[in-house]
């Protein structure tokens, strides 16, 4: 019996029994939503959907939402709606026929390039409901007088600060949470977008470009140039590999053992909690080759509706409204991916500025690792996360950049091939 036929049989049996067992999964009156969030973000989202006409049951699943949904699908008990942070998953699910196509409201306007990520064969399968600005460096102005404007300036400043750090134990130039693989992939993506341009970046994401080609090599060369600076990180690269993202923020805002930390707009939550003194963090954009070059990488979360769920389609439609996320905008810490949402409705000044940058940028590229297929997309110890951590380990440990780069591009190409084969 083929798996397909067997699955159909299972589904039929399931349909027969679940009706009898009172259909606990698909209750017509209430909608079930599985989301990637935990903690604060989960609470905020609950506040948002409290305004939806029907009751919504929200389950916070966390990062393993893919295996959660796959298991639910095989059991025939998918939720009505899922919120995912990987558009790659949306495409995969849609191709397997798990999803319903959705229609957003007229007040839904995501940045160009983002909406296309959610369409398969001309059908739209999800809407963007939250954005993250992933091209920011954070620093205290008292420790860094002049923020670098180009990549070369960043490197030279890092060298200078590192020399001082080695000499008199002043703060190291950079903090990096390399224990979390996504931090390193965010570094890589910014560098890649700047050296390769949107075309190649996009082709890599679609699996159409060669990972061993020159653009990837150049991007890795760049990172190696910066990361291999002796004394670049507090207590060295091996310690950085055991430092998680939020701890790296602590190194800057609390211990002041590092001057700059690169990451997304949500740094401000950790910074507010652990900051000592009154000084506020400032930001500068991830620098490109020239003054004018400012790569902009965004991440974000997508809402999708599962096949056969009318309530789910309705909820996704409702979430695409300009006004839906009012409570979260009000609470702060939320950047809307909907360009129709007025900039002024973002409560904190930082988000207001970022919202403007989102509108001003001529190219907005979505986080590359979140677009990659299968296990290549990365999680702890797996895929591109792991590959970038190995690369970081090598260049901070004194391996020649040339060797590290060629080994890494080989690993990336192999992982891309394996992911394609498995699909």
């Amino acid at each position: 019996m083929t798996a397909l036929r067997r699955r159909t049989l299972l589904r039929a049996a399931a349909a027969g029994t679940t009706v009898a067992v009172a259909g606990c999964a698909r209750d017509a009156s209430s909608v079930q939503a599985a989301v990637v969030w935990n903690g604060d973000e989960l609470a905020r989202f609950r506040a948002v959907v409290a305004n939806f006409p029907a009751p919504v049951r929200v389950i916070g699943v966390g990062n393993d939402i893919d295996s959660f949904l796959a298991a639910r699908q095989s059991a025939g008990t998918s939720p009505d709606v899922a919120v995912l942070s990987r558009p790659g998953l949306v495409v995969e699910y849609a191709e397997r026929g798990w999803l319903s196509s959705v229609t957003p409201t007229t007040s839904y306007a995501p940045p160009a390039g983002l909406a296309d990520l959610l369409t398969v064969d001309g059908q739209r399968y999800g809407v963007w409901i939250k954005a993250a600005h992933k091209s920011l460096f954070w620093y205290f102005p008292s420790l860094l007088e002049e923020p670098p404007k180009t990549w070369d300036q960043l490197v030279s400043q890092t060298r200078r600060l590192a020399a001082r750090h080695r000499a008199d134990g002043g703060p190291a130039p950079l903090a990096v949470g390399a224990a979390d693989g996504w931090v390193l992939t965010d570094w890589f993506e910014n560098a890649l977008l700047d050296v390769a341009g949107a075309g190649v970046y996009d082709a890599l994401a679609r699996g159409e470009a060669d990972w061993q080609g020159q653009p990837v090599q150049y991007a890795l060369d760049r990172l190696a140039e910066l990361w291999s600076v002796d004394g670049a990180f507090p207590d060295g690269g091996r310690r950085a590999l055991l430092t998680q993202f939020e701890e790296s923020v602590i190194q800057v805002v609390h211990h002041r053992s590092a001057v700059m930390v690169f990451e997304a707009d949500f740094v401000d939550a950790a910074a507010a909690r652990f900051r000592r003194g009154d000084e506020q963090l400032s930001t500068f954009r991830f620098p490109g080759a020239r003054h004018a070059d400012k790569p902009l990488i965004v991440g974000g979360d997508v809402a999708v509706a599962f096949a056969g769920s009318a309530g789910g389609v309705e909820l996704v439609h409702w979430l695409s409204k300009r006004t839906a996320f009012g409570p979260w905008l009000e609470a702060g810490g939320y950047l809307s991916p909907n360009l129709d949402v007025p900039v002024e409705s973002h409560r904190d000044p930082l988000r207001r500025r970022l919202a403007e940058e989102l509108r001003a940028a001529d190219t907005v590229q979505f986080d590359l690792s979140d677009r990659l297929p299968g296990t290549f997309t990365g999680t702890d110890g797996v895929g591109i996360w792991r590959i970038m951590q190995d690369f970081f380990m090598e260049v901070t440990d004194g391996t020649a950049a040339r060797y590290a780069v060629s080994r890494t591009t080989r690993a990336l190409a192999a992982a891309a091939r394996a992911a394609r084969r498995r699909r």
Partner: protein, 586 residues
Amino acid sequence: MSRVPLLGELAVLDDVGAPRRGRAYPAEGATWALLAPAVLLLGALLAWPVLRTVQASVTSDGRWVGAEHYRAAFAADGTGAVVLRTVLWALLVPAVVTVLGYLLAVASRRSQEGWLVRLILVVPIALPLVVTGVTFRLFYDPDPERGLATLVLARLTGRAAEQAPQLLGPELVTVAVMSAFVWAWAGLAMLVFRAALDTVPADLADAVRAFGGSRRDVLWDAQWRPLLLRTVAVVFALVAVGTSRTFDLILVMTPGSVRDEAAVLALRIWQTSGATTTGEGAALGVIWLVAVTVGMLGAALFIRQAWPLPQPPAVPAPVAPPPRRLVRLFAAGAAVAWLLPLAALVFTSLQHPDRAAVEAWWSRHPTIESYAAVLDNPELWRSFRFTLMLATVVTVAVLIVALLAAYPLAWLTGPPALAIGLALLAMAVVPVQVIAGPIHEVLGMGFSSGTVQGLALVHIALGVPFAVLVLRNAFADLPADRIRAARLSGWHWWSMLRLLVQHNHRALLAVAVLEFVQVWNDLVVGLLFSAPAAPLGLFLQSQTREFVTSSGTLAAGSVLASILPVLMVLLASRQIVAGLVAGGVR
């Protein structure tokens, strides 16, 4: 994660030993009705999923592909290292735990402060492995400002704190996880050895001495040959099977950058397939399944051969002098070493949540703000209520199903008894990661996966084999004349069952406590079979994502989650050991 019974193998392994029940009382017509619930559960949620996994490992979309998945799984980067590491775990760690357990049992046996040492060592047994993981990640924190072990290592090696060896770094992370596991299991080994040593007839040692035997001869002829050989085998096998639980520890203890350096098969399968079945994951799973089963059965048969003649119950008569000073020092040292990680956990939980992320846990005056923050979290309360409800329901259900099934099985003798014993044993050690995908399919047919009922059903199915084994052994040990008397006076089988229950309340209590603690402490079943609410293990694990910044509340939550299982195991420890060992000594 396989359901590795805590103290179970004692009784379990015994039973596949010499067929020592010479009284065949065939069950009445109700046999099949009594067996039906257990057979249905185990068939649908264990046996069938295992078959499906085997099928998935040799097919692709229903097409026969032979060994292709196996080849692909082994061609994947690092699989060889993962398999080697799993084998290392299964050989090295049990050896260390066995030796430590024996030494601690001897050292803490007759001294006055021995009870304190035992108490300290028994607490880690009851902790959820997630909590053990949290404890050791705090203890081994690479920042000497927070990690006591790192600070001590830096002092010992004479290096600057920043250059100190990193216990969680790529080279040492496996050793670090192993040490946490030894910490958690040595107490159990100690308990078992202690129970064994207490049953060694004292006059045997006297006899050896009377014939001019040295200390070594006493150890060899009065302890090793009659008893310890078998106990060592039991403990070794028990811990070896237990090493498949490392999954929880690895997930909590290792930062993402070193997870691969610590990975074992359990983790690799989960990384490859999650809660579904993929060809490669299934292939790895089948390999693991075969290894676990073969190892388990091999151990069972080995122990059977090593099984000595049944001994008359010994009257423990402490004739030996109290242990020497060196031995007592060893016990005291062990107690301190075991206490330090616990101190790290408790004192971190007594820090302000924000301070716990940036300062040493030994530097501040305690506050209860982390507890306040945790108790303020409605998710924790939901999780508590849910776990309590789940563990209670599962325990009751397992007891009922197992009682019914154990009754007819207890009358079997000879090869059928042995065969059923081995089959139950094999089912008790099936690693649940391997069969998660097919279980989801089965749940989807009847109930629904992703519901509370589904989660409870999986727990019940995983708990039943072990419970049946223990209860069957206990039942089979009821003195034959009592049964004969009962039957002659014309009792029905249900009166018989009642008599058995009354006579075996210790075994029942042991099974109930162990099952409850098992479910309460679970992470992996909750992870693979998520329900609308998160069980405690999953709740804690989800907070370890940014470990350092949540360490204060995480420690507080861990302490709160540990209170109930620790109390239960401590209060019932005597009954647990007695209830489980009962079949063995008689």
